[in-house]
């Protein structure tokens, strides 16, 4: 296993890069687990399989990024995923929230994928191998997730298709999607919460774009989709905390459930 962090000489830059990788991996772990909760109960068989596949990919991505961090640390991937207290997780709070309903999961997926695609592109241009190549590979896989989210969002809230198959939205569907968007938006802005690490990465040339520029790029990509669906983009203040380890009880509850089998025998080999 090639070590991604050990080759960064400056300890402050190394710590900042580790923090960035943790954000990526923790985001993927949390949303991957939430998506997996749709397995068996999706609204139709195709969506059930799709959400389960997306979950499988996000958890796989989390594992690969954790591997990059864990190469130089005791305990490996399992310790990072299963054996950290909530305050050490760096995921955005939106991703730990319960699914609530299909419309919330779809809204969250659409908002997250637009952010994640851009972030992986930035990571792919960080100039530090093997992380850059890995990020480029993961980015290619993520693109189908965004397509799925966009298709569902238009199906739920968009204008009726010319040849509808009896599955077009009602006013109720759009109202529910709008409510989900209002609920998710402030937490989605939490994607762009910064810490000291952001400045360090920008100065070191590893991160090519400030959080403000990332947010602009994200809004430029999600606004047209939301507006095409007749949704109003909320004007809310960001709800922050995740990037500094401040989480909701939802994370603790999910993490307790997620780690139940692992905790029963942490030394077991699977």
């Amino acid at each position: 296993m090639s070590a991604a962090l050990a080759t960064i000489a400056d300890p402050a830059v190394r710590a900042a890069f580790r923090e960035w990788l943790l954000r990526v991996a923790d985001d993927e772990l949390m949303i991957g687990h939430r998506h997996s909760e749709w397995t068996g109960v999706g609204p139709d068989i195709e969506s059930d399989v799709a959400m389960s596949s997306i979950a499988q990919e996000e958890l796989g991505h989390a594992r690969l990024i954790y591997e990059q961090i864990a190469a130089d640390e005791p305990g490996g991937v399992d310790r990072l995923a299963f054996d950290r207290p909530p305050a050490e997780f760096r995921n955005a709070v939106l991703l730990e929230q319960p699914n609530q309903g299909w419309e919330f999961s779809i809204v969250r997926l659409a908002l997250y994928e637009a952010f994640e695609g851009h972030r992986l592109a930035l990571l792919a241009r960080c100039g530090h191998e093997p992380v850059a190549s890995l990020a480029a590979t993961l980015g290619r896989e993520e693109r189908y997730h965004g397509l799925f989210a966009g298709t569902w969002l238009e199906r739920l809230a968009g204008p009726p298709a010319p040849q509808s198959r009896g599955q077009t939205q009602s006013g109720d569907a759009r109202a529910r999607v709008q409510a989900a968007l209002e609920a998710a938006w402030p937490y989605a802005l939490g994607f762009f919460e910064t810490t000291e690490a952001d400045g360090t990465l920008l100065r070191a040339g590893l991160l090519g774009e400030s959080a403000e520029r990332q947010r602009e790029a994200w809004e430029a990509s999600v606004r047209p989709l939301l507006e095409r669906c007749g949704l109003n983009v909320p004007a809310a203040e960001p709800s922050l905390g995740g990037r500094r380890g401040v989480h909701t009880p939802d994370l603790t509850q999910m993490h307790t459930e997620m780690t139940e089998v692992w905790r029963s025998d942490p030394e077991a080999r699977w």
Binding site: E46, V49, A50, S133, T137, E141
Partner: protein, 193 residues
Amino acid sequence: MTAARPWACGAEPERPDGAARPWACGAERERPDGVAAASLERAAWDVLRSVEDPELPIAITDLGLVRDVHVDAGGRVSVRLVPTWTACPALVVIRGRVREGLLAIPGVRDVSVEYTYDEPWTLERMTSRGREQLAAHGLDVPACRFAEPPVCPYCGSHDVAMDSLFGPTLCRSTYVCRQCRNPFERFKPPAEP
């Protein structure tokens, strides 16, 4: 690029049927113990050609998973593989089978099998023989890009509708043919680099 097949990629037809990529041209002769290493390398490729993807009837060499093979005079074999989809559960199985097969070669003392990401997996990596095997299995495989018009593998019609981007495995999507009314699957590569 031609108007008739705007997705034609050119690289693929240059590849000889079922042959591995042009990696080891002459380099083996420069090694001190060249004969032994060359014979181990041939044996290693025989093993790789015998390992099938557990989810599809295709050898990993035809799928284009093998990036390179290095053999040294001390009997150490290193194989680097390129995953199609990074979260595919078959990757663990494939790595295990490659490892086991290589360790069974007389003269091999140590084996390393790693997945690498510095070169993306693309459809161009699949051999013609591999494509034929997947077609016979009822899987439509795009020549180069997922955006190409899909073809029904049963009747050849282009009058098809996508059922779902996400099929029974990460690398497959599902379709229905409006012409012959058969459902079918289509190989789904990761989006273009």
